[in-house]
């Protein structure tokens, strides 16, 4: 079992991931920018430059990073996609942490024509909107750490999260399925892997073949018709 730092723990995805990881027997250190009620270990953190972030990652085997901007301002999004992940991964590198799971978004791939079968081999095409820029820049920064500091990195590009039983659009992903994918990703042990993660239903836009095989993961909530 692993000791895992989970950032963005107060988000709906963070809460679902925490439940899933605990159910698998992992020991968690939760973190977010605001205080979170939890029976487990929690560290309030802005992922700033300094010893607080060094202490945050100390003793962990793995980090699951769900980036959260400090506000909805464009500057906060850019900060979340650049400086804060740089601080986190620098601390992780110093602490000799072997593996980081970075949670990104499939929105980076929607610029492609919907008739194209887009998979992980396609170049991300973010637009100039802050949330897409932040997600892309986060991947960009993380990949440099994977390449030059031999940090194991798994990037999960998630579809649009929902807790409904039916998909809201062509790239929906049930929250529980997303949490299961993250839980599978923490057990991978590769230098760099990238997976597209969304529900499997008629009209679903992106192939999840790589995630199904690489993570041994199957979405269960938004199932194929008749399945």
């Amino acid at each position: 079992m692993l000791k895992i730092l989970l950032t963005g723990a107060g988000t709906p995805l963070g809460l679902a991931v925490a439940r899933e990881l605990r159910s698998k027997g992992h020991t968690l250190r939760l973190s977010d920018q605001e205080q979170l009620r939890t029976d487990g270990e929690f560290v309030k953190s802005q992922l700033s430059h300094g010893k607080t972030t060094d202490r945050l990652v100390k003793g962990m085997h793995t980090i699951v990073h769900i980036p959260v901007p400090a506000s909805d301002e464009a500057s906060a999004w850019i900060d979340a996609g650049t400086r804060t992940i740089y601080n986190l991964l620098t601390a992780a590198s110093i602490a000799d942490i072997k593996h980081v799971v970075y949670v990104s978004t499939l929105d980076l791939m929607v610029a492609y024509d919907s008739n194209i079968r887009v998979d992980e081999n396609f170049r991300p095409r973010p637009n100039g909107e802050p949330h897409q820029l932040a997600a892309y820049l986060g991947e960009f920064v993380a990949e440099e750490f994977a390449q030059t500091r031999q940090l194991g990195l798994t990037v999960l590009r998630l579809g649009h999260l929902t807790e409904d039983d039916t998909p809201g659009d062509d790239m929906s992903l049930h929250l529980h399925d997303a949490a299961c994918a993250v839980a599978r990703a923490v057990n991978t042990n590769n230098n760099f892997r990238l997976y597209h993660v969304q529900g499997d239903y008629p009209g679903a836009r992106f192939s999840i073949h790589a995630a199904q095989h690489g993570l041994d993961w199957q979405p269960k909530q938004l199932k194929k018709e008749g399945a």
Partner: protein
């Protein structure tokens, strides 16, 4: 052309001013702008969009020479967020051209330059995790993405080592960095970035290695010569010829 020069009081700013004044109207900004300048000056924190936008109003183009290297908070505020603010202001104001600057490892970081020769601007961008390099690389990625989604040309001039045209008398001639240029040739290159007909460029995002003609063969400056029509005048031979 009326040009906003961001970071105009930094290392490169005065050379850019020398290269442009007389033919272009300049608005020179920095956190601490130059004193006693004959040009319009103002204090601008590039991390503040409203300040950048205000300074850019009424201008035709922006040259971004702002840079911060050491402090993590300020480095990202200037090199990444500041670049975002600058090109966003340019797009919002309908500018057609944005000139960005940075170190060569914005594109070609240590993965390349420790091992490879004949490096060109078109290598996949890998800056390394060095703070200065990676924060500037984030800024340039932001520029590239804007150029793909908005009708604006981004011309990014990359530099590294600046030298006087000749070694000073009595100075020990040190090993010359293979990515070297003089300040005045650097200023001339940025002038070409400002003046080149963008219709002649292959794409809306073009990166240029700005170094003089050197015998090392490690980095190529052919693209800047061909597309910008720039020719380095100072060959720095005093530093490398016996």
């Amino acid at each position: 052309m009326k040009v906003l020069l961001l970071g105009g009081n930094g290392m490169l700013g005065p050379s850019v001013i020398d290269a442009l004044e007389g033919d272009h109207e300049l608005v020179i900004t920095d956190l601490n702008p130059p004193e006693n300048s004959p040009h319009e000056t103002m204090s601008v924190d590039i991390a503040d969009y409203d300040q950048v936008r205000r300074a850019a109003e009424g201008t035709d183009a922006i040259i971004n020479c702002s840079v911060l290297r050491h402090d993590r908070k300020i480095a990202f505020d200037v090199n990444a967020l500041g670049t975002y603010n600058s090109i966003r202001a340019a797009v919002d104001l309908g500018h057609k051209r944005f000139v960005n600057t940075g170190p060569h490892f914005t594109v070609a970081g240590s993965l390349y330059y420790e091992y490879d020769f004949g490096l060109k601007e078109e290598v996949p961008a890998h800056s390394d995790t060095n703070l200065y390099a990676l924060s500037k690389a984030c800024g340039q990625e932001i520029c590239r993405i804007f150029s793909e989604h908005y009708p604006i040309h981004v011309l990014c001039a990359l530099f590294l080592n600046f030298r006087d045209p000749e070694p000073a008398p009595g100075d020990e001639v040190r090993r010359l960095n293979p990515f070297s240029v003089t300040f005045r040739d650097a200023g001339r290159a940025l002038r070409r970035c400002l003046e080149v007909d963008t219709a002649t460029l292959p794409s809306r995002n073009e990166v240029f290695f700005i170094l003089t003609d050197l015998p090392h063969g490690k980095f190529a400056n052919a693209k800047a010569k061909q597309l910008l029509g720039w020719e380095p005048e100072d060959k720095l031979e005093g530093y490398w010829r016996r």
